[in-house]
């Protein structure tokens, strides 16, 4: 067949580069998207169908009592895991009301050497030696209601059990060292400049009676909030009054 002028022109294109670079890039992005979708769908199509069929055939062949046993074991395992997750993440009383007991929050912050007395069910915790309170995300108490409350906002960026690094909203990084306080982290809304408390130098001393909070909400002893991993970008930090929390050091 006779070649048209269009065909001859297209075929004579010098070079083989990206004449229309935008189109080439857009197309390659679409190809990669399609490729990943296809890979995933293929895996789902092949693997799942086979596995499902095999499992179904095996269960079908089991005696009735064995099938019931299998289902029971599965139910126990699932509920046990669910409870473990709940306990680790949401159990509000886990670290409260124990005397000189060390326990670990979901953030693996060690809590210990605390002297709680008569933790009550409403309001702030009543203690005899080191007053300890913790944060509660749902609480509507303001920082002004916390005795000696101070507020900063920042992000807890690392910890190793006794040492906590905090990036304040100002961008400065602080550490809390030598502390075995009850520390709890929670969502924050309130911003009050850290600099206000740091204007006289790099260190901020925490007095025995101080409550240092990174947000203005104050929890009750009954309902501290241990932050979940997916909330890490919005955390504040509460260090409540303690005999052992001495210094926030800037570094």
């Amino acid at each position: 067949m006779r070649k048209t002028i269009e065909q001859r022109l297209v075929d004579s294109r010098p070079g083989r580069g990206r004449a229309n670079a935008v189109f080439v890039e857009r197309t390659m992005a679409a190809v990669r998207r399609a490729q990943s979708t296809e890979t995933f769908e293929r895996a789902m199509r092949t693997t799942n169908a086979t596995k499902k069929e095999r499992l179904f055939m095996k269960v079908k062949q089991l005696p009735k009592w064995a099938a019931i046993g299998l289902v029971s074991v599965a139910v126990v395992a699932v509920s046990g895991s669910a409870y473990a997750v709940y306990e680790a993440k949401f159990d509000p009383t886990r670290c409260i009301g124990n005397t000189t007991e060390t326990c670990t929050s979901v953030y693996k912050i060690t809590v210990g050497d605390q002297s709680f007395t008569n933790p009550n069910s409403t309001g702030l915790v009543s203690v005899d030696r080191a007053p300890n309170q913790s944060a509660n995300r749902a609480s509507d108490a303001a920082i002004t209601e916390i005795p000696g409350g101070r507020t900063i906002q920042g992000k807890l960026i690392s910890h190793d059990g006794t040492k906590f690094a905090l990036r304040a909203s100002s961008g400065d990084i602080y550490t809390i060292t030598g502390s075995k306080d009850y520390i709890s982290v929670y969502n924050t809304e309130y911003v009050q400049s850290w600099q206000k408390y740091n204007e006289n130098g790099g260190n901020l001393s925490i007095a025995l009676s101080d409550t240092l909070a990174v947000a203005y909400h104050q929890g009750t002893n009954e309902d501290p909030h241990h932050i979940a991993a997916n909330e890490v970008d919005a955390i504040g930090l509460v260090v409540t009054g303690s005999a052992k929390a001495e210094t926030l050091q800037k570094y």
Partner: protein
């Protein structure tokens, strides 16, 4: 042809070389689709879809039976026909195939290509040459070329028509 088969074999073995094929054929394929649907933007979308489809079905493609570009253009032609049907346009498949045939890859010999390039270089006035180069070799749309040359769109269409007539005479 040999090199193309190597690229396809490499892609089927997990090597990321598909972009080479996209680079090689995108200009012609967009023009092909534009001839079929008469709209540049739609043509680019159809050409893109054809590249994606071809990629996903590449394992089924047999380089011994056809050239990749012929196969790719056929995929694009089918997508274009579907597009025209979806948009309730009257589609006569024979007509579409005739149009498609006119812009399918030609597979010229090297000396033939050189002759065409020479003819384009010698086009006068220079606007003709620039218009042809920009559209057929650089993958630009009529609108982009008109903007570049500072000419109205219809003037550019006239230049293109006259340039092709001139080339047809020279190359006949």
């Amino acid at each position: 042809m040999m090199e193309e088969a190597e690229i396809i074999a490499a892609i089927n073995n997990g090597v990321d070389r598909y972009e080479e094929l996209v680079q090689r054929y995108h200009v012609g394929l967009i023009i092909h689709c534009e001839q079929l649907v008469g709209d540049r933007d739609e043509a680019e979308d159809i050409a893109q879809e054809a590249f994606v489809k071809a990629y996903l079905q590449l394992k089924k493609f047999d380089p011994n039976r056809a050239r990749f570009s012929t196969w790719l253009y056929k995929i694009a032609t089918n997508i274009a026909i579907d597009y025209l049907r979806r948009h309730r346009r009257r589609v006569v498949v024979d007509d579409i195939e005739t149009i498609a045939e006119a812009t399918m890859p030609a597979y010229l010999e090297e000396d033939e290509k050189r002759t065409v390039r020479k003819a384009v270089r010698e086009l006068t006035p220079p606007e003709y040459r620039r218009a042809i180069e920009a559209y057929y070799w650089e993958g630009k749309s009529y609108q982009e070329i008109a903007d570049e040359l500072g000419a109205p769109l219809n003037t550019l269409r006239t230049w293109m028509r006259r340039a092709k007539l001139e080339l047809r005479e020279v190359l006949s």
